[in-house]
Amino acid sequence: MTEPSNAEAKDQWQAAYDASRVGDGPFETMSGVPVDAVYGDAPFPGQYPYTRGLYAAGYRSKPWTMRMFAGFGTAEDTNARFKEILRNGGGGLSTAFDMPTLMGRDSDHEWSLGEVGHCGVAIDTLADMEDLFADIDLGSVSTSMTINGPAAMIMAMYVAVGEKTGVERAALAGTIQNDILKEYQAQKEYIFPPRPSMRIITDMMKFTSAEMPKWHSISISGYHIREAGSTAAQELAFTLSNGFAYVEAALAAGLDIDDFAPRLSFFFNSHSDFFEEIGKFRAARRIWARWMKERYGATSERSMRMKFHTQTAGVSLTAQQPEINIARVAIQALAGALGGTQSLHTDSYDEAMALPTEDAARIALRTQQIVAHETGVTNVVDPLGGAPYVEWMTDEMERQAEAIFEHLLEIGDGSILEGAYVGIENGYYVGEIADAAYRFEREVNAGRRIIVGVNEFTEGDDGKRNLLRIGPEVEEYQLKRLADVKQRRDDDAVRTVLDRLATEAADPEINLMPTIIDAVKTFATEGEIVASLEGVFGGYVERVVL
């Protein structure tokens, strides 16, 4: 197949643009100068390998979604917040869970003290999930759930709530993060060892492919890798290679690539080095498209199009002079937009110290609204495409990422999935990330890098802080709620289903999802289900790497 000429590619782009549902505009500058949708040469936006964007008309047809992540207190508190979002016209709910829930432990676990309901909502049993989504039609909303280690139990609860309210699982729409590899590499919210975890994820991919066509069973996340201290290229390479690893696992389980790949999505960080970030986003789309087509044999364009969510860099926020973080977030948000993100969360300026206050969260949302509506950057698709520095940076990010893929293929004996296992076991990822983090801190400490307000320009901090505090009532309420549910349920039924789950876990041929769904329906707690699987799979303690 020969490459189309520039003129042919432009015609094809024009046809795709004309077929797009484009917004009203006006597509002109603030001063009234009309602007084209695209400038420069082929390949154009919407054309393989999608370096310049997934769609011909870019933000003219699909503005990015302003998806702000939130969660606090009890399920009832969060339910009230969800209803408010829906009343205001939002169709998407995004759920943050508290630490014990994320770690697969119940609110009455000894380590949960002081953590219940703090950084998200506490979910112990199906009863909490029913409260969380009370009076919400699960058939008409899309729900994003940020959870990994116990993702199967939380997804099972969502399915069970749907059934109880008359919504079939096939009608449920949403995303569960479920990216366990990056937990071992960076975020550290793992429960079981890597291989059994991957078995559960494969079970979930099979289950959702067969029964939940509107469900995204995984969101492959570099955000946490970057926050843990990686470079931009490491974030890019580790995230994409994790994506390849899930693809290899799904292929090995007999799934067809064009069945599941269109439902994979990604999540990146947007940090402060403006052009490096833009190059990273552009390189990500190109690498994914090439690997999906050339290495994994995808034929559908939808499998090759990498969709991603972006969040500004929490780790870049300073506790010193916190209000200047608003400027950092604005620059990072702009990089996300120029990189072509599908959705964006902007951090609040006070997040270096605590969960955001309502005022700070409002300013963060307003910041991306300014980027979207006042700067004009949405008028032109990939407006920086063709700029020599931007194209060079895109190539450079790709080059560095490819070097890391080679290393993984080498240690994995030709398999990225095996390379990921080996890299987790031998401390490759955590070592690389810790080295990068330490290098950065040394540079800041030596004054070779300036962090405004931290090692330069430090005058002017009045020391006043208005921080959000979570009171002890939430924990007291949740402990009582859990005790009540345990009192009311049929303990024999719980024991029977958990025993069955343990038996099935020992047989890798059995898909665990149906029994996990049965288990949550008996009001077995998240922690009990986890413990039953832990009995077979064991736990995981990471090798300490300094």
Binding site: M99, P100, L102, M103, R105, W111, S112, L113, G114, E115, H118, C119, Q187, K188, E189, E227, A228, G229, V315, T318, A319, Q320, A352, M353, A354, L355, I433, A434, A437, Y438, E441, R442, N445, V454, N455, G463, R465, L467, I470, V541, E542, V544, L546
Partner: protein
């Protein structure tokens, strides 16, 4: 005080998995000539107490990023005292200003926030150890 290098046990307690800071601190203390025993994530009070005993440590460093410092740090101080171990507990991480005094009142020897320089981190450990020895 002897000329032996200061020995510091570093640990993360409870669920908190944010380990970027504590790993950087481990290398800073090592570069400053101290011996560092990093226990890793999800440590119990008993594990830390055991490590201090076995390693004959001079100080304990905890890193906290989950807003549970007011619960966990004082318990660590109590657990060490209950084992008759007179070693200072130093806390690093995200600690709001108004929590500094309450933690000091409960026996936490020093608190290091984000932005503390390498020199400040090493000096805080040296000074906390010297005070106990003195």
């Amino acid at each position: 005080m002897s000329d032996d290098p200061i020995r510091v046990v570093l640990a993360k307690l409870g669920f908190d998995g944010h380990d970027r800071g504590i790993k950087v601190v481990a290398r800073i203390l090592r570069d400053a000539g101290m011996e560092v025993i990093y226990l890793g994530l999800r440590q119990s009070y008993a594990n830390v107490v055991n490590a201090v005993e076995q390693e004959d440590a001079d100080a304990v460093g905890l890193s906290m990023h989950n807003a549970s410092h007011l619960t966990l740090a004082p318990k660590m101080v109590e657990a060490l005292a209950a084992a008759d171990l007179d070693v200072p507990v130093i806390v690093g991480g995200i600690i709001p200003d108004e929590d500094v005094q309450p933690l000091a009142d409960k026996g936490v020897a020093a608190i290091l926030g984000p932005g503390a320089s390498a020199e400040e981190v090493a000096a805080a450990v040296r000074s906390a150890v010297a005070q106990r020895a003195g």
